[in-house]
Amino acid sequence: MKALRSIAVIALALVIWEAVCRLAHVSPAILPPPTRVAGKWWEYLVTGELPRDAAATLLRVAVGFLIGGGLALPLGLWMGARDRVYDVFNPLVQLLRPIPPIAYIPLAILWFGLGNPPAFFLISLGAFFPVLMNTIAGVRTVDAIYVRAAQNLGAPGRTLFWRVLFPAAMPSILAGLRVGIGVAFIVVIVAEMIAVNNGLGYRILEAREYFWSDKILAGMITIGVIGLAIDTVMARINGRLLRWHRGLENA
């Protein structure tokens, strides 16, 4: 029923879009009707261009996210668990965190030239801070009573960390990973518009040069669908790993 309603709303939006284009005689270079976008999308798909672009984009997201998240997670755990480490690194983190990854584009190109390396750099930056901040917060806000209970049961430091602090921080860590991959996906599109010559971000910018509005929209919709798919997968993983969590009673 719920799925049916969702489909109905989307279908209705498409019908209105189509109607506006046809009845108002909107130029297809400005806003092509959805039927035309669908046709272009199909063409884009069967020529193999779209799968190659999507694969290139996803690869960049994956590599950037693994580098950024892979550095942020251990650093966040370390900063969260040790007050001394937190005090040392926190001022630097607070200073760097508000700089949007986009602002690093000039430096990224200076340092890494064009191609995949600057894109990986920018995407890692985008994923790094959400994962770092959430991991730190997750570990630091673990209820002291769990630590006491574990110490009372005789848990040595290592056990305390891996079996108490880490799992207790897991909801926050997973939230950070989910935000981080979302930001990585935003940054990849920007990076592709600047530094490389394939991928979904590059393709929609290229289509603009030729006034191929239908291709721009086909690319945008693909970006939307892939973003939704990534987030759905992350939500599934969260639900699975947090079966014990009270906030996810029905997950």
Binding site: I145, Y146, R148, A149, A150, Q151, N152, L153, G154, A155, P156, T159, R163, V164, P167, A168, M170, R243, W244, H245, R246, E249
Partner: protein, 254 residues
């Protein structure tokens, strides 16, 4: 002669300007069940935390089985009011955790044995969130019992439970204690609860927390709340606690 379970000598605990405990002297014999009773703010939980080794006293010392308390140890197992079960572990893993830390290869099967004993059979694979308050506290108790601790420290463990569940948990605890004869220090603000459970009731004063009076409870077990002896003991104890409650209320008004 073996050392007493607890020897508390001149314990004082201060948090900033607030003196929470002052001049506490208390001995507890092995196998004894002692209740610390008093209004909130009398420092009874503070004293229990000091005995557990979570927060060292500002002055004085605490000896457990003749050894000075410096840090938390499994031989003094704590049951918390908020249960403090690890929500990310199954019920079985919660109970087995202490045994696994010790490296006991039979941790899980021993945990299952304890779950059976505490009427939790079949709940081993559940998470704490699926359990009622009473069941959670039974799991917390099982987690401590798993360690065969000679001393149980209980911080208002049944305070959050409804009256009927609390009653059956008290019976459960007495049954276990009769069988295993651990030393138990039980913090409560329930006057009746202390009379149902304790060999001795330590009445504490409101801020600074001191020992106001130690009342031995000589009523025979199992205790009958409707017996005349129980009511007269209850009346006497209520009078003592009321005095401190009034001091507490006056202090809060100023």
């Amino acid at each position: 002669m073996p050392d007493r379970a607890l020897q508390i000598r001149g314990v004082r605990k201060q948090f900033g300007a607030i003196v929470a405990l002052e001049g506490i002297d208390l001995d507890v014999e092995r196998g004894e069940l002692v209740c610390l009773l008093g209004p909130s703010g009398c420092g009874k939980s503070t004293l229990l935390n000091a005995i557990a080794g979570f927060t060292p006293p500002s002055a004085g010392e605490i000896l457990a089985f003749g050894k000075k308390v410096t840090h938390p140890e499994p031989e003094r197992a704590m049951v918390f009011q908020e249960y403090a079960l690890f929500p990310w572990m199954t019920v079985r893993d919660n109970v087995a955790f202490g045994l696994q830390i010790r490296g006991d290869p039979q941790a899980r099967s021993k945990a299952d044995g304890l779950l059976d004993k505490l009427a939790l059979r079949g709940f081993g694979d559940r998470f704490p969130k699926d359990l009622s308050g009473g069941m959670r506290q039974r799991v917390a108790l099982a987690r401590c019992l798993a360690l065969d601790a000679p001393m149980l420290l209980m911080d208002e463990p049944f305070g959050a439970l409804d009256a009927l569940t609390r009653r059956s948990m008290q019976d459960e605890l007495l049954r276990i204690w009769t069988e295993l004869k651990q030393t138990i220090v039980f913090v409560t603000h329930g006057i009746e609860e202390s009379l149902v459970l304790a060999d001795r009731v330590v009445v504490m004063t409101y801020r600074p927390g001191t020992v106001k009076k130690i009342i031995p409870v000589t009523l025979s077990r199992p205790r009958d709340e409707t017996a005349p002896g129980f009511s007269s003991a209850l009346r006497a104890l209520t009078g003592l606690v009321r005095e401190e409650q009034k001091r507490h209320e006056r202090a809060e008004q100023t």
